[in-house]
Every structure is written in structure tokens, then in C-alpha cells.
Symmetry: C2
Subunit: 279 residues, 2 copies
């Protein structure tokens, strides 16, 4: 496994490889890797001759300085996990490398990035679009893999690829969960055992909401039940639960097919998200 | 010479070629080609194995619907000129092809795009950034060639390439002028002979301003002289003449090296720009 901290040598390496390879897969991460990330690596390895994992905590997508500061950084153990998973290349740049010049160019990812997470994390998806464009241009992968947990992020990146005509095939890999049902997340590392147990309320809420909407319950009633369930759980603060069309993220009332339940909230001072596709 | 109107077959063609070529050069144009464009083709041919010329009048960079409507479209004669110049590939997409989905993603190219042309053509450079990103991703050239006449546009694209890490080398090709001094421009096709003669006032203004600032004249005085000169020319309306640093486009007072004089104005209802590098 090769590790690069700078763009130039990575590019030179990939340029050399590209000639004899049929495809390169990219797994963009912010490190603090868990089994969910490893599933992305596996998916990439299954489809590509060479897999690059980027590890970069991108400051421009954090709307909250505390969250950025507390975001777990575990490069040494990340390296071990990636080596074991058969990853070929790690790209772990510094901020200076990724933002060499004062950033002048902003993105506006439009309506799809302004609702849900976009509402609670203003500017978040514009930062995501910025860093993803950079990573796509640096690595020039044929395929890129993202976790379904960041459902809205995937939609934003899908738009970006479609509109800006990146020649990259995207794959969304299903959520990987703890036995408890808790969706794997790097931010889970900031939870203690009892907080982890409390955090399962988000998945429980999704399951309950799913059953209720399938039974034809009004979503306003479902929302209230979820609120109550979260309020009854120590240290948990619900931010939103919404039921939307997977294509455009607009609220749906009764369409099950092609819809998704999205939830976000805090356990203590750690913000978590989760979602459930309905069929 | 190959001509493509759609992205998919162009990509397939270039993918096949790329394996046996060391580099691809791109000359992005809006058609209505003149000798200035042909110089760009020549520059690309000198440095690359394959030259692609894109011909696309991008609506999102026009702030003025009348200007967009009146922009000359001469695809048949463009084809002839490119064939003669030894261009390998033309890419001439429709609006439907370039904007397949409703455009959601906006760019904000920052300070460098908000002054000068950006002030008189609000949103212009954001549209430029959008279409240039698309073209770069569709064609994935190793090098791209732009005319120095659009000086500020070049700076914006340079920023875009630097910041978003496009792996593309940019070249600015010097302005090609008529014998009269008039900078070649597709919009010149909209001028009659007497208007063409009047339009030379912009280059004359640049030459006069250059001499005066070199002599140490205050730029406010220079501006006034240029205004008078333009006002004295029938049908001519000066929009601005500015003297700025080539790096950041900020006004300079007395620095000659690395500065540029930029001028813009109307002849009748045709808007023209020109510039002169100082040394």
C-alpha cells in the first residue's frame, strides 16, 4: 500500500499506473474508519484494478468549529485497517496541500442542498461540493463510492457529477450497522457506552416511522411519536425526521416506493444522522 | 476532421484515442471564428497530438438576452476554417446536450470575477466557470488555450484550475489584431465598415494611456483623456478603462511591470473589450 500526503507525487504515481489499468476506484473519507468504510473499500476492490482511499477532514464543510475540532483523527489505525482491507493507495493531504491558495471559488449546490442537513448545517454541502471536485480532479477515478448513511450528500454529489459532466460512476453502499442497529459513524467514537445505547433511538425511530407510514398513518402523527420517543431518551435531542422523495428530497405524503425516511439529532454534543429507504 | 454534437460519442472517441496519444489540446470557443481563434488552434497543434475545438454559445454567461440573440453563429464557415487549420475534432453541442438537467449548481468565482467585466456583466463569469468546468470534464484535455483578449476570463479560469485542481495546463495566446489595430472578435461581424473604423478608438485609447502612464501621468488624468477621445468618436460609448495588477486585477497607481490596461465599451449596440499588457 502506498501513502501520499501531496498531490504532485500522487498524480505522478497514478499517471504511471493508469496506462496499464482498466479502472481506478475512489473512496473519499474523513478517516476514523469503521466497518462501513471498509465495505466501501470492498465494493471498490470488486470493481476496479486500483483503489484509492482519501482521508481528509475538510474544514470547509464544517459549519460548527467545535464539531471540526472534535472530529476523531486516527490516521495510524486507519492505515492498518486499509492495509488489511487491501486498499492500494491512501491520499492523506494536509489543509495547506488541499487549500494552497486563498479560496475564492464558492459553490451553490441549489435547492437539494438547502433543505434537511443544508438547513441545519448552512454551507455544509457547498464545502462538500468543493472538496469532492478537488478530489475528483486530483485522482480522476472511474468510479467513486459513498455511504448511504450520508443520503443527502450522495444526492448532492450525484447532481454535481451529472451537471458538471464528471466522467465518474457513483455507487452508494448500504448503511453498515452495529448489532444494536446504530448506524456506523466516525462520530460514534465520541460516544461512551450508555450514549451509544441511547443513540439507537434514531434507528428505532426510523423503524417505527416506517411501520406507521406503511400502515397509512399521517406523517404529522408519526413525527410526534418520534419526537416523544426521542424526548423520552436521556441526552437525546431530535433535530428532524422527514419523509421525502429519493429523487428530489421533497416531502411525500403517501408514496412509499422511492421514498426515504431521514433523521438527525444529538446525543450529548455529538450530532448523528441515519436513514431508511422504503419500498 | 471529426465533428461531434453529443457528449457520449465524443467521449468514446477520445477514450479510444487517449491510449495512443501523449496529449490532447482544447480550444474552447463560441464559434464565429476569426484569425485570433486560428492562432489558438495553431498553438494547440504545436504542443499536442490531437486538438479539439469546442463551439458553443453558452447562454449562462450572457447577462444580456439581446447580446445572446445577436451573437453571430456561423457553423458552416467555422468548420471550413478549422479543417483548413488542421483541427482534429469539433465539438458543437446543443443547449439540450450541455444543460441536460435543470441547472441547480451555481458558481461564485469570487472577487476577481466581480470587478471590471463582472461589474458590467453580473453573473457572466459564474456562467463561464460553469461551462468551462463542463467542457474540461467532457474533453479532459491536457492543455487548454484561451485568447488574451478576454484577459479577466483567463484569470478566472486560471483560479478555477488552481483551486479545483484540474490537471490542465493553460495557455494565454496574444491578441490578434486587424491592420487597423482593432482586436479580432466574433462580435466585430456585427459592425459595418464605418463602425469598424470607429471601434479602433479602443486600441488607440490603450496606446495613448500606455504612453501617458509610462510618462508618469496620473491615471485619473489618463482616464479623462480617454473619455474625451471616446466621446469624440461617433457611436462610441466608453464603459471603463482601468489599470490593474495582472495577478489580482486590483488597481495600480504607478507599477508598470506586471500590469495591464483594460478597456470596454460600445460601438452602436455592440459591446467590445480590449487590453494591453505593460512592461
Amino acid at each position: 500500500m502506498e501513502i501520499f500526503y501531496e498531490i504532485k507525487p500522487l498524480r505522478a504515481f497514478l499517471r504511471g499506473k493508469r496506462k496499464n489499468l482498466s479502472s481506478i476506484g475512489l473512496v473519499p473519507t474523513m478517516g476514523a474508519l469503521h466497518q462501513g468504510h471498509i465495505e466501501l473499500i470492498k465494493a471498490s476492490r470488486g470493481q476496479n484494478d486500483l483503489t484509492v482511499c482519501s482521508i481528509y477532514v475538510n474544514p470547509t464543510q464544517f459549519n460548527n468549529a467545535f464539531d471540526l475540532e472534535k472530529y476523531p483523527r486516527t490516521l495510524d489505525s486507519d492505515k492498518e485497517k486499509l492495509e488489511k482491507a487491501g486498499c492500494d493507495v491512501i491520499f492523506a493531504p494536509s489543509n495547506e496541500e488541499m487549500y494552497q491558495t486563498k479560496s475564492e471559488i464558492g459553490f451553490d449546490v441549489g435547492e437539494i442542498g438547502s433543505v434537511l442537513e443544508g438547513e441545519f448545517r448552512p454551507g455544509h454541502f457547498n464545502g462538500v461540493a468543493q472538496v469532492v471536485c478537488k478530489l475528483f480532479n486530483i485522482i480522476q477515478p472511474n468510479r467513486a463510492y459513498f455511504g448511504q448513511k450520508d443520503f443527502q450528500q450522495y444526492k448532492v454529489i450525484e447532481n454535481l457529477v451529472d451537471e458538471l459532466q464528471f466522467d465518474i460512476q457513483l455507487t452508494s453502499v448500504p448503511i453498515f450497522r452495529e448489532r444494536s442497529g446504530l448506524a456506523m459513524s466516525s462520530r460514534n467514537q465520541r460516544l461512551n457506552e450508555s450514549e451509544k445505547a441511547n443513540a439507537t433511538v434514531f434507528y428505532q425511530s426510523l423503524l417505527m416511522a416506517s411501520e406507521l407510514v406503511k400502515k397509512g398513518e399521517q406523517f404529522i402523527t408519526v413525527k410526534n411519536k418520534v419526537k416523544q420517543m426521542c424526548e423520552a431518551t436521556p441526552n437525546v435531542k431530535l433535530e428532524y425526521i422527514e419523509w421525502v422523495d429519493t429523487k428530489n428530497l421533497k416531502p411525500v405524503q403517501n408514496v412509499l416506493d422511492g421514498s426515504v425516511l431521514l433523521i438527525a439529532g444529538y446525543v450529548g454534543d455529538v450530532r448523528l444522522i441515519d436513514n431508511l429507504l422504503l419500498e
